[in-house]
Symmetry: C2
Subunit: 114 residues, 2 copies
Amino acid sequence: MVANKSKPIRRDIFQAIADPTRRAIIFLLAVGAMTPNAIAEHFNSSRQAVSKHLKVLVECEVVNQEQQGREIHYHLNSEKMKEIEKWLEQFKKVMENRFNNLDQYLAKLKNQKS
Amino acid sequence: MVANKSKPIRRDIFQAIADPTRRAIIFLLAVGAMTPNAIAEHFNSSRQAVSKHLKVLVECEVVNQEQQGREIHYHLNSEKMKEIEKWLEQFKKVMENRFNNLDQYLAKLKNQKS
DNA sequence: TATTTGCGCAACCACATTGTTGCGTATATA
DNA sequence: TATATACGCAACAATGTGGTTGCGCAAATA
């Protein structure tokens, strides 16, 4: 009723790595493709819990499914990980230029020369 | 007692950057310290919404507060950002060695009959 | 002093997240 | 064929997230 800015469900790399279990899964899959059961054996989590995390990872396009008989192998799409790197690079660029930008900001905010 | 593994509230850098508004705030603060009002002016969000994000960022230790009169200046703790980089480095290391590790993993996992 | 301004805090709401159990189905195997 | 296994999916519960409005207080200002 009263308000609530409709927020879309976020499905990006940052959402993918927000959960520690998912980060661990990513590391596991970086080594090689695995089935949900194999992954679950590495954690305290149940198979179903892992399965849910995998679903999120698939939705975030960090992980791909490959059916093999009755098993499903999940493997990492490591390309997606580069988006984090890209973001970090941008951030570092801003940090490097922050004094220049700060000047611009101050100039913009105050109409006087120093 | 219908179950639910008590999960602690996650307050780390990955939680901090999970939200797009918070990522934008981080970029803003990378340029220079700002007040909540000044930050809010850059978004559609209200001051209170921004304030909540700032609270999360403070809890994640990505941002520090500095009271100046009745204004509070928030500035970035860019050190915290390096944790993302560290994690990425680890990941890349795993990716580089994955073929070696794959052998180890397969040996470990398939010591069942096969 | 009286008023405005900056901002945190609490209450509230809708929805997302993270886990659980149970079930259905397809595949492998005895 | 009968049974066990791998897995997704649905239903449910507890808690977190992200937003809102309204209030109160301290600091600045008229």
